[in-house]
């Protein structure tokens, strides 16, 4: 390791100081946290010369490092939760996580569906819960700096297990909120273990005020057993003051159906990473996203799709609408191992640029070692179609409204593909994010 870099920026030093100050109070095995933090100490904040972070230069973008937020009073947590609108129209079992800590009094812990167990991560860490063995099911994610920092700082989250064969009809909704008067950081880790043949829908929402400088680092790990079905819908509604890092890992067994959709509408800076590994045969996995950006926002979606087992199908569809001087980034890597024959992988990223100052960086990558696969990727980038705009306007629809119709339909494709068409409430909850964004635009 000739080019090991040392902590050498004030922000990196501040993060080290925060860790030193807080580590004795964090639950669980101190050694594991130290090991994770050593990874950060070694590499520092990622910067543009690190290929995987080329377009999101954290060293340049993060000029301050906030300390971990303390747990809120129940009243303060409830006030913040009250103000968070996401998925409110969808019936669900709600689990509230405010400033990085589960708020039991604002969660439906007594109403968990049959066959579902839940513990808080802090309890699980303190008790050395057996399920924690599933953390880090995708080892390569551990090298990622956002993940390493999460492992070092994680305060709380949920550990959910869905028992074999359980069909959970009511979605589980993880509601994350962050509030405060001065800059805060949070680190949450959640683990969802779905046993063989079970099915569950997970909703995940994030909310915080625009004016608050905050640095959330959230990670959700899913371990999906054979023949299980998981649908995951995420709304990243962090405020413009956010510098948000998030990671989703999905370790998929055989004959699984897994879907995740991420909608990004507000955060100032966001990097969402998805690690999806096809470990069992005949599994279908889909990763989708709809991102809308304006002002100086920066949103990065980075995928690591890993086909290890044969006969699997992966689908990635990402839609980005960019206005103002905002920047979108899509990096999608699909790796197909020699053994993963008959892999069917299709990845598409489309961006519509709504202003001269809008930027999109698309980087699809295929790494294929098997010789009998069907893999394709595509990326498009352009303005709204003038002919379509003219058609709508020729019917009397004014330009802003005509643009809104086209942008909504563009973004909506990712939602329509992900949501069961009979699920009107969920569809509405997701599309309304785009409508709210579009209404603010015109």
């Amino acid at each position: 390791m000739a080019d090991v870099e040392r902590i050498n920026t004030p922000v990196e030093a501040a993060i080290a100081e925060h860790f030193a100050g807080v580590k004795a109070t964090l639950p669980g095995d101190a050694g594991t946290r130290e090991t994770a933090f050593a990874r950060f100490t070694e590499a520092g904040l990622p910067h543009r010369r690190v290929e995987e972070w080329k377009y999101t230069d954290l060293r340049n973008l993060m000029r301050e490092a906030a300390a971990l937020a303390p747990a809120l009073s129940d009243d303060a947590a409830k006030a913040a939760l009250e103000a968070s609108p996401w998925f409110s129209g969808v019936d669900a079992v709600r689990i509230a996580i405010a400033n990085g800590h589960v708020v039991a009094s604002a969660s439906d812990l007594a109403d968990l569906p049959e066959g579902v167990t839940l513990e808080t991560l802090s309890q699980a860490l303190a008790a050395g819960h057996a399920d924690l063995a599933h953390l880090g099911a995708i080892p390569e994610a551990g090298d990622n700096i956002a993940v390493a920092l999460n492992s070092a700082f994680m305060t709380d989250g949920v550990v959910i297990r869905v028992k074999a064969g359980t069909k959970v009809t009511m979605p589980l909704h993880l509601r994350f909120v962050i509030t405060g008067d001065s800059a805060v950081a949070t680190a949450t880790r959640s683990l969802i273990v779905v046993e063989k043949g079970a099915s569950v829908t997970l909703l995940e929402s994030h909310d915080s005020a625009d004016a608050l400088a905050h640095q959330p680092n959230n990670m959700v790990e899913m371990v999906v057993g054979d023949e299980a079905q998981v649908a995951h819908f995420r709304i990243d509604g962090h405020g413009t003051g956010a510098q948000a890092l998030s990671t989703l890992t999905a370790h998929l067994g055989a004959h699984v159906a897994f879907d995740t959709l991420n909608i990004v509408a507000r955060p100032g800076l966001v990097r969402h990473q998805v690690y999806m590994t096809f470990a069992g045969e005949h599994t279908k996995g889909a990763v989708r996203g709809a991102t809308m950006l304006t002002g100086k926002q920066h949103a990065d979606t980075t995928l690591f799709v890993n086909h290890v087992a044969p006969h699997c199908e992966s689908r990635e569809l990402f839609k980005t609408a960019i206005d103002g001087n905002a920047t979108g980034v899509f990096q999608g890597r699909i790796a197909v191992a020699r053994e993963a024959q008959k892999t069917d992988g299709q990845m598409m990223s489309s961006a519509v640029l709504l202003s001269d100052g809008a930027t999109m960086n698309n980087k699809p990558e295929l790494e294929i070692f098997a010789d009998d696969v069907l893999c394709a990727h595509g990326a498009t980038c352009g303005a709204l179609d003038d002919d379509l705009l003219f058609y709508l306007m020729a019917r009397g629809i004014p330009r802003p409204e005509a643009e809104a119709l086209l942008i909504e339909s563009f973004l909506g494709e990712a939602v329509e593909e992900a949501v069961d068409e009979t699920d009107e409430d969920l569809r509405e909850a997701l599309l309304s994010v785009a409508r709210t964004w579009l209404a603010a635009r015109s």
Binding site: D386, D387, F390, R395, G396, I397, R399, L405, S409
Partner: protein, 250 residues
């Protein structure tokens, strides 16, 4: 009602309309016929306000207002309607959402109240029934997966709903079989009124058997070269455009 004076139009440096004059009176159906490339579709786009055409000279006066300064949506609100030769497919935009947005936008610009949903649906269903448009077509994304004939009928449906003052039919007959042509023409005829005028652009006289024009204009080389009554269409059908093309070349 509509008066076009000395219209000169270019696209990407190529002259398409070359001093075109045309007047269409209240309640009149004017047909424009002409060979390929004579500028008929350009004329329809320029009246509706498509951006990429550069108007170098002339004016288009609708009810005393020069529409050239208006956005396409403002022209629509002022009463211009273009039935497209090739209606566009818009995936992800539901037909009903589009129709409602268009109707309410026009009502709003005229200072009228938005329609209630039941009232809106009633109007759409009535128009659809007349044009033999099945209800499941209305449930799909706009024009997506529609046949050529269905798309044209959807154009006429929009025209019926929006009740424009000045309708341009750009080769509405192209791609239609004889039954679809009859249905579309009946839809148009049902909209005939002393307050509404039509500009019917076509290559063939056949459409004019169904939509009988008050005047026929021959377009060649970017202007109107001959005007007459409906018998002019029959003459063209018999003799073709050869005379006019020769005239253009000369």
């Amino acid at each position: 009602m509509l008066e076009i004076k000395n219209l000169v139009v270019e696209i990407e440096g190529t002259r398409i309309l070359n001093g075109l004059d045309l007047t269409v009176n209240n309640g009149e159906i004017a047909a424009i016929m002409g060979p390929n490339g004579s500028g008929k579709s350009t004329l329809s786009y320029v009246v509706a306000g498509k951006e990429e055409y550069e108007v170098l000279d002339g004016e288009i006066i609708l009810d005393g207002q020069n529409v050239l300064e208006m956005e396409p949506s403002e022209r629509a609100a002022a009463g211009v309607f273009l039935a497209f030769q090739y209606p566009l497919e818009i995936p992800g935009v539901a037909t009903m959402t589009f129709l409602k947005a268009a109707l309410n936008a026009q009502r709003k610009s005229r200072g009228e109240a938005e329609l209630t949903t039941p009232d809106f649906i009633k109007r759409v269903n009535a128009a659809a029934q007349q044009l033999e448009i099945p209800k499941d077509m209305l449930k799909r994304a706009l024009n997506v997966g529609f046949s050529g004939g269905e798309k044209k009928r959807m154009e006429i449906l929009q025209m019926a709903l929006l009740e424009p003052r000045f309708c341009i039919l750009d080769e509405t007959d192209s791609g239609l079989d004889i039954d679809a042509l009859r249905i579309a023409a009946e839809g148009v005829n049902a909209l005939r009124s002393p307050d509404r005028s039509f500009l019917v652009i076509t290559h063939y006289q056949r459409l004019l058997n169904y939509i009988v024009p008050d005047s026929v204009h021959v377009m060649a080389g970017g202007k109107i070269v001959k005007s007459g009554g409906k018998e002019l269409a029959l003459e063209l059908e018999a003799n073709g455009y050869a005379d006019y093309k020769a005239q253009e070349a000369a």
